[in-house]
């Protein structure tokens, strides 16, 4: 009996990007459908550069990027249609309200107005933005701005959600709301790739974790698989991560 090969949510092969020095150096990465993938690495490891290339914000020097089987370099518009990007610095419009912002995003992604409005109202409710839905964003705190940005990323119902340090600067309540919404997306079949420096979050939320250092993927797997690779037994992700990075530094 023939089983079709499942298409990965993200398949990156031989990805390279050089600025003053190589930022991403022949990276191979595969993220499965419906998984929560945590991408870890020290500062300057190439995490953000990698994800910006996947999101279509940077052009790679070499390599290939496939999003649900779509070649993101030759057909970026179709790849973008099913992808969402949230950066650590929420970029929203101060003079628009959250409701207007979501309407704008829905229009850009050509989502049916009725369907988009329903999703927007749901997201505004889930993220606790309802009391401020018709207030201009100019006075919002970092946490509220991040929630508006996240709602914008989810309103077009993307299959792949890429988040770069989305919890930076959020208070405990806001961080929990964001994590809950992301968990629900994965439970509903969505795929999430998230970079974070908060290792506890990766430990608790990620199905699999990838560790990048020096622009390359140095380890990948579940937490247990990473522990075995690092030879750390029952140790925490923090110990495992530091051991893996230290090994890479020594090898380099």
């Amino acid at each position: 009996m023939h089983h079709p090969v499942p298409v990965a949510a993200l398949d990156v092969r031989g990805l390279r990007k050089q600025f003053d020095r190589p930022a991403v150096d022949g990276l191979d990465l595969t993220v499965r459908r419906g998984e929560f993938y945590g991408l870890l690495g020290p500062n300057g490891a190439g995490k953000t550069t990698t994800l910006r290339m996947v999101a279509g914000l940077l052009k790679p020097d070499a390599g290939s990027i496939s999003v649900f089987g779509i070649d993101a370099l030759t057909d970026p518009v179709e790849a973008k249609r099913i992808t969402a990007w949230v950066s650590d610095e929420p970029m929203i419009y101060d003079k628009l309200t959250p409701y207007e912002y979501l309407e704008f995003v829905s229009g850009l992604w050509s989502i049916d107005a009725g369907e988009a409005e329903q999703r927007a109202n749901d997201l505004i409710g889930w993220l606790g933005l309802a009391p401020h839905a018709h207030e201009r964003c100019e006075g919002f705190s970092k946490g509220m701005r991040q929630k508006v940005a996240l709602a914008g990323a989810l309103v077009h119902d993307p299959m792949l959600i890429i988040l770069d340090e989305p919890l930076t600067g959020l208070d405990a309540g806001s961080a929990r709301q964001v994590k809950n919404v992301l968990r629900e997306r994965v439970a509903a079949g969505g795929t999430v790739i998230m970079t974070t420096h908060i290792l506890e979050v990766a430990e608790r939320m990620a199905d699999r974790i990838g560790v990048i250092a020096g622009g390359r993927l140095i380890a990948q797997g579940t937490l247990d698989e990473l522990r075995i690779k690092a030879g750390k037994g029952d140790s925490s992700l923090e110990d495992t991560f530091l051991t893996l990075v230290a090994e890479q530094v020594q090898a380099a």
Binding site: A55, G56, L57, K59, V77, E78, K80, R81, T83, A84, W85, S87, M91, I92, Y93, D94, K95, L96, T97, Y99, E100, E103, F104, V105, S106, G107, L108, W109, S110, A113, G114, A116, E117, A120, A133, H134, E135, R136, C137, E138, G139, F140, A149, G152
Partner: protein, 484 residues
């Protein structure tokens, strides 16, 4: 080697400044060279013109000083440090008011220097007294701007003062010029305010020669008693402003720092609109433009400058006046300037660049939609003027419309070629982020204005100005930064 490079750059900058200073002196020679022989005991007509020029300088200095005072109130950069330091904040703010006056005076002196130097060279050292008058006018402008801003604070509170002060500064800067132009148009049908200042009708109404009103004019002409009075008055007013307002300055700065940043509530709309991605982008740009208070004040100022041409159109209507052709370059120039500002906001001042760049639409599509939003806004502002012009002269209206479109498109293209990534709130910095873009935009507007004006007047020289305008665009494109 590094030092050599720095030295070379310094030499280039010094040479450029020297060349500019020489050029300004030549211009000054052409403008005021023939007036150097005017004696202190001159007629009232001459005193009216000198006083008018002094008032013009005062209105511009006042506008500049008000902007600085507002910035000092609302910029939080060093406020925490000042207020938490053991130094008396009253003293710090006294120095700050003095610094505002000094920078206002410095700027005015720099602008006036070529004219005063030429007058001194041609008419003798007595003209040096004009420097004192400029300094006194600057001091008065700084004192009045502090008083006016504090009065606004007390009248409408810190939250509204920021916008109100910006609008008042813009209006104060424009009112005197525009007022004179309006008076000139109503009296003589021309855009020149000198024609009104020199008119017998005005001279007949002004005070006698001995009146204190003419002290600044007498002081400019070298009357040392008048100079002493004018300088003393300026120093007295500035000193009083520092003494009275330095304490309150600190209180108001603290009040400004403590205002709530809560965003305004918008009326909820029922349901999302069904818009295409292009309409969505255009709609977003228009909404952001409409809700931008600083931009609103700038646009208001542009519209204020269009008031005299509008008035001229109204007077020309029915009279079949050939003066209407004078409006063509005015409108074309204004359209280029407005389009440049709007294009910067739409293209460079994108507050969510990642969102727009990750949208499933080609980059060219986004640029086209944003450019359409800019040209559409310019069209809305200028269409009534072109329509009114068509009622007087269809040919001139066609020339004006063509000039407005070409000038606006050129300014938009220049902003596109020199685009940077910035926040909308950094709109002020657009003129310093790329000086080449700023000059290219200004010269392109001027060249297209001249082209449209000459074409409307039926002059064959229009070909030269059109070629110059196209040359400016080609040059700007050639030196613009190229993508990676």
């Amino acid at each position: 080697m590094l030092t050599a490079g720095k030295r070379h750059r310094t030499r280039v900058v010094v040479l450029a400044i020297a060349a500019f200073a020489v050029l300004m002196h030549f211009i000054a020679l052409a403008v005021v060279g023939n007036f150097a022989s005017i004696e202190p005991d001159t007629d009232r007509g001459t005193l009216v013109v000198i006083t008018g020029c002094a008032l013009l300088a005062w209105s511009l200095m006042m506008s500049q000083a008000m902007e600085q005072v507002t910035r000092a109130f609302y910029a939080r950069s060093d406020l925490d440090l000042i207020l938490s330091s053991p130094m008396a904040s009253r003293r710090v703010f006294a120095v700050r008011i003095g610094a505002i006056a000094a920078s206002t005076v410095m700027m005015a002196v720099l602008l006036a220097a070529p004219f005063i130097n030429v007058l001194t060279w041609r008419g003798g050292a007595r003209w040096l007294a004009a420097y004192g008058v400029v300094a006194a006018i600057g001091a008065v402008a700084a004192a009045m701007s502090v008083a006016l801003t504090v009065a606004l604070f007390r009248a409408i509170g810190p939250k509204r003062t920021r916008l109100a002060a910006q609008i008042v500064a813009a209006i104060v800067g424009a009112t005197f010029v525009i007022g004179l132009q309006v008076a000139a148009i109503l009296s003589y049908g021309t855009l020149s305010y000198f024609s009104f200042l020199k008119s017998e009708a005005l001279v007949a109404y002004v005070p006698a020669l001995q009146s204190f009103v003419w002290w600044p004019a007498h002081a400019v002409l070298g009357d040392l008693h008048a100079l002493a009075a004018v300088v003393s008055m300026g120093a007295l007013l500035l000193g009083a402003a520092i003494a009275v307002f330095s304490t309150r300055f600190g209180e108001h700065a603290m009040a400004a720092a403590g205002i709530s940043d809560a965003g305004a509530l918008q009326n909820p709309r029922q349901g999302f609109r069904r818009l295409s991605p292009r309409s969505t982008l255009r709609q977003k740009e228009w909404t952001l433009l409409a809700r931008d208070p600083w931009l609103a004040s700038q646009t208001l100022m542009q519209l204020l400058y269009l008031l005299p041409p509008g008035l001229m159109l109204w007077r020309a209507f029915g009279a079949n006046s050939s003066d209407v052709v004078l409006l063509v370059p005015v409108l074309v120039m204004a359209a280029g300037q407005l389009a440049g500002g709007l294009a910067w906001l739409a293209i460079s001042g994108e507050d969510a660049p990642d969102l727009v760049a990750t949208a499933p639409v080609p980059a060219s599509f986004i640029i086209r939609a944003k450019s359409e939003a800019v040209i559409g806004s310019v069209a809305v502002v200028f269409a009534p003027f072109v329509a009114a012009m068509a009622l007087v002269s269809l040919r001139d209206a066609v020339m004006a419309a063509a000039g407005i479109v070409v000038s606006a498109v050129s300014a938009t293209l220049i902003q596109l070629w020199f685009r940077t990534q910035a926040r909308r709130k950094h709109f002020r910095r657009r003129q310093t982020s790329s000086r080449i873009a700023t000059f290219a935009e200004a010269f392109s507007s001027i060249a297209w204005a001249a082209t449209a004006g000459l074409a409307a007047a039926g002059h064959w020289q229009t070909a030269f100005t059109a070629i110059t305008a196209v040359g400016i665009l080609i040059g700007a494109r050639a030196v613009s930064p190229k993508g990676p």
